[in-house]
């Protein structure tokens, strides 16, 4: 706690000759009878990336970004301005612009800043960029390259990358919030092209989390991703056209949880439900999934990519049950939507950076394990698709239609896993598909730490997870008809 504060003072306040008192004064200047809420969000981030291709690390990138976002809220109205300068005049100018949302000449109200109850950090505060010497980062990338190429002569291209972010944030709000968070994030990725005859295919794998570069060496984690990328590319060289039409689909554990993210996750974000624009609006307490489904959003898991000690509004993250035994139980909330809906914030207020407004976002979203052995689930399908890896997905929260695209999938015939099939998009309606989940495996797994979620043009890191699932009918968009 004190370490995080020391860092926040050193990175955010001292260079601009600011202190907590000065920030409070700026916040006070924004308050008036018609302002329900105001906050300042100060952010400093250092990030780097190193990329190897064609056997050499030919480029690396380093970036420093900093700034302050200032928000004033009056009823449903939000005024927002930001500055990439942290100096007091810039803060005051941004505050003046934001507070125009409610024009009133009244005297400032009082604010009691507490900063009480900031939870213990879920990750170390050390800067991950310096957790490994630059020469060792390059050596690791070369090792991944050599390893992948040695696995099979069909591997013609290897791209490997390492990236890290060290971020310090400070939130001061008129509801008394005063919080700091120091957030590490690392990521490693391996992508290969395999060629045989006139077929060429790509395979990728990777992972990361709120840890340092050491996680890639532990248990040869990164080499495992190189294995996985090569296996996936070679497998796709053998892939046959995917089937077309509606059929039973078995989804593998882990990253296929992107299903939940798209099918129900976005539709349960507070803003859409306050506005009544989600297919789940007004359905609290109703059956929105089969009774086998319990889905949670949990931002407080240590070291996970989607985790946060406090969200970007200073609210401690927690575990929100979204769906319990198929019944809709909860929405994910930021402060603004929680206030307007008369509920408590759930620690899901997130923003891409100081230059973006916070909104309700997912953290780590997953389905709890069920009773079935995964083999039993596969054996139950006469003819269908077994999908174990996916690219991205997308949802229209209003109609409930969502898609996600396979990158590794197989035909199932008479309960047996058969030939791999080429990439295909699966499409369905969130509540329909969730109600067709007839079997849930006992093999819950979380993804390896690769998720990026986009909403209204803002990207944030997220996690997903699920056990093996059987969905009785989903439309599979292949070409074999």
């Amino acid at each position: 706690m004190t370490e995080a504060w020391d860092l926040a003072r050193q990175r955010l306040l001292a260079p601009a000759e600011l202190d907590e008192r000065a920030l409070e004064q700026v916040l006070h200047s924004m308050l008036g009878p018609r302002i329900d809420y105001a906050d300042l969000y100060l952010q400093y981030s250092r990030s780097e990336s190193w990329v190897l291709e064609d056997g050499i690390v030919r480029d690396g990138h380093f970036a420093i970004d900093q700034g302050v976002g200032v928000r004033a809220v009056s009823g449903e109205k939000t005024g927002f301005a930001y500055s990439d300068e942290l100096l007091r005049p810039a803060l005051e100018q941004a505050a003046g612009a934001a507070r125009q949302i409610a024009r009133s000449g009244s005297t400032p109200g009082a604010v009691a800043i507490s900063g009480k109850g900031t939870p213990a950090p879920l990750y170390a505060g050390d800067d991950p960029l310096v957790s490994m010497a630059d020469a060792d980062k390059i050596a690791l990338l070369h090792r991944l390259d050599r390893h992948a190429r040695a696995l099979d002569p069909c591997v013609s291209q290897v791209t490997a990358s390492l990236a890290a972010v060290h971020e310090v944030i400070l939130v001061l709000a008129s509801d008394g919030t005063l919080a700091v968070d120091v957030r590490p994030l690392v990521r490693c990725n391996v992508s290969v092209i395999a060629e045989r005859g006139d077929r060429r295919e790509r395979g990728s794998a990777g992972g990361g989390g709120r840890l340092d570069y050491g996680m890639f060496l532990a248990g040869d984690q990164a080499l495992g991703w190189a294995d996985e990328a090569v296996r996936s590319a070679l497998l796709n060289l053998e892939a046959v056209p995917a089937p077309a039409g509606s059929m039973p689909v078995v989804l593998g554990p882990g990253w296929p949880g992107v299903l939940l993210h798209e099918a129900v996750g976005h539709g349960l974000e507070g803003d859409f439900n306050r506005k009544g624009t989600s297919t789940f609006s007004g359905r609290m307490g109703e059956q929105v999934a089969s009774k086998h489904c319990t889905v949670v959003d949990e931002g407080c898991m240590p070291n996970r990519r989607g985790s946060l000690t406090v969200d970007d509004e200073g609210t401690p993250t927690g575990r929100t049950v979204l769906i319990e035994n198929g019944i809709l139980k909860g929405y994910m909330q930021d402060k603004h939507n929680a206030r307007l809906m008369g509920v408590a914030p759930t620690g899901n207020g997130r923003r891409q950076s100081y230059a973006h407004l916070p909104m309700p976002r997912m953290t780590n979203t997953y389905m709890l394990a069920g009773a079935h052995d995964p083999a039993e689930i596969l054996a139950s399908v006469e003819r269908g698709l077994y999908a174990v890896n996916f690219g991205g997905g997308q949802v229209d929260i209003t109609s409930g239609k969502f898609v996600f695209s396979t990158t590794e999938a197989y035909l199932i015939e008479n309960g047996k896993v058969k030939a791999p099939v080429r990439g295909a998009t699966l499409i369905g309606n969130g509540p329909d598909v969730m109600n067709r989940i007839s079997m849930v495996g006992n093999d819950l797994a979380l993804d390896s730490g690769i998720g990026v979620c986009g909403k209204d043009g803002q990207s944030v890191p997220v996690g997903v997870g699920q056990p093996t699932l059987r969905v009785d009918a989903v439309t599979v968009g292949g070409t074999a008809h």
Binding site: T78, T159, R200, E201, T277, S399, G400, H481
Partner: protein, 444 residues
């Protein structure tokens, strides 16, 4: 500051950063500086929802020590930050490997003399009140378009002005000011589990050229209502008509496939395709980087190389890749002035309006929305979620949703039966509706 002063100040900043890089020992360097400011006001159900004042600035630098490259960027504009950022880039260059293809684009490729006048800067004296009124008018038109419009996601008026500057140690420094204004609205028709959402927008460099707020709103409302009652169709192999706004996406995939980065990484389905027939013979695709007021216009690319008009596809044959200086060297070709992307792409049409395109489709699927990322750039395999309308006897029969369309882009381009003359300007990719034979529609 006047425009001249803004540009001079930006170019001066580029020169100062290049000077720091030189002093600190870089053999060569290139710098990109940007600054922008803007206003966005969103109105929902007639009330202001958000007022956002934006102000961004930053710079990025790439330095070379021999053929070793390092790069760094920052949003911090202080002199200390310049020193620190340059030092970071140099530090990275000490660790990266010799790359024979690395380095600035050749000096003789930089623009010479006065840059072409692209007329991209048309500021809009837009205050919060005016922006609010415009968004309100747009939203009201959408809500009033039909009694079945039930809700709104809001309407947004936005306006921004930006300045980008680029310079490198060959001595070239250039800058381009530009504005971009827009109005958009999204509304919902129907209720409960039958809700449908759609949107409409207008965007232009020139505020006066924006479409009227009422027209934009009405279009959004009509589009949302037209989707009510959408249902899947049975799985079938039928022709697909891509509406003009989704057809431009098909051209986007084509550009990705002929882009240098994907070619030298062998991650394109159009490797070694130069001189090959990739579209039907009557198709021409050209890039026009110097169109006045256009959204994609630029006098130089992000390597500082002077842009030029060219045909990418002529008589259906691939005539040019889109290359940067680096990817060109990797492929042993010359840069095409496309570092950072393409500038104003135009495709030929077959003189058919949208009604004639529908008639030509006869029986099949009109696609107006695509979902997801099911495009494999290595193989060209294409499988995406789609929504639109079923067409019988050349007329729209009913709305369709929850289907996928699948094929392979290589075949899809060759199987383009007709391109409509219904393209909407402006846009970086201007393309009419496109009729593609033999796709698999997967549904119920």
């Amino acid at each position: 500051m006047t425009q001249q002063q803004e540009r001079a100040s930006l170019e001066d900043r580029v020169a100062r950063i290049l000077e720091v890089a030189k002093q600190r020992g870089a053999d060569a360097a290139e710098v990109a500086v940007s600054r922008s400011e803007g206003l966005a006001v969103t109105v929902r159900r007639g009330e202001v929802e958000t007022v956002e004042q934006t102000r961004d600035q930053g710079f990025g630098i790439s330095v070379y020590l021999g053929r070793c490259k390092g790069s760094a960027s920052t949003s911090d504009s202080s002199p200390d930050a310049i020193e620190a950022t340059v030092a970071k880039a140099l530090n990275i260059a000490r660790f990266t490997a010799e790359d024979p293809a690395a380095g600035l684009a050749d000096a003789e490729l930089m623009p010479t003399g006065v840059l072409p006048e692209l007329d991209l800067f048309h500021p809009w004296a837009l205050d919060v009140a005016a922006a609010t009124e415009l968004a309100q008018a747009c939203e009201a038109a959408a809500l009033n378009a039909d009694a079945r419009i039930s809700n709104s996601e809001g309407a947004t008026t936005s306006s921004s002005r930006s300045w980008r500057g680029y310079g490198n140690s060959h001595g070239f420094i250039g800058s381009e000011p530009a504005t971009r204004h827009g109005l958009s609205v999204s509304v919902i028709a129907g209720r409960d589990s039958g809700m449908q959402r759609d949107y409409a927008y207008t965007v232009d460099r020139v505020p006066e050229a924006l479409e009227a707020a009422a027209a934009v709103g009405r279009r959004a409302g009509e589009r949302a209502v037209a989707r009510l009652g959408a249902r899947p169709v049975p799985t079938a192999r039928v022709p697909v008509l891509f509406g003009h706004d989704v057809a431009s996406g098909l051209l986007g995939h084509f550009i990705a496939a002929i882009s240098g980065g994907n070619l030298y990484r062998r991650s394109s389905f159009l490797l070694d395709a130069l001189g090959n027939e990739v579209f039907p013979e009557r198709v021409t695709i050209e890039e026009c980087p110097h169109l006045p007021r256009a959204l994609g216009s630029a006098a130089f690319d992000s390597d500082g190389v002077a842009t030029r008009a060219k045909r990418l596809v002529e008589g259906g044959v691939l005539a040019s890749y889109v290359l940067s200086a680096y990817s060109a060297r990797r492929l042993k070709l010359a840069t095409t002035g496309n570092a950072g992307g393409i500038h104003n792409l135009r495709i030929s049409d077959d003189g058919l309006d949208f009604e004639a395109m529908l008639a030509r489709l006869g029986r099949g699927l009109l696609v107006t929305e695509l979902m997801g990322q099911g495009v494999n750039g290595v193989t060209g395999d294409y499988s995406r979620g789609a929504a639109g309308f079923w067409v019988e006897d050349g007329a729209i029969a009913y709305p369709v949703q929850e289907v996928t369309i699948a094929g392979n882009l290589k075949d899809m381009y060759l199987n383009i039966d007709a391109i409509g003359n219904d393209a909407v300007r402006p846009g970086n990719i201007v393309c009419g509706s496109m009729l593609v034979d033999g796709m698999t529609v997967s549904g119920a």
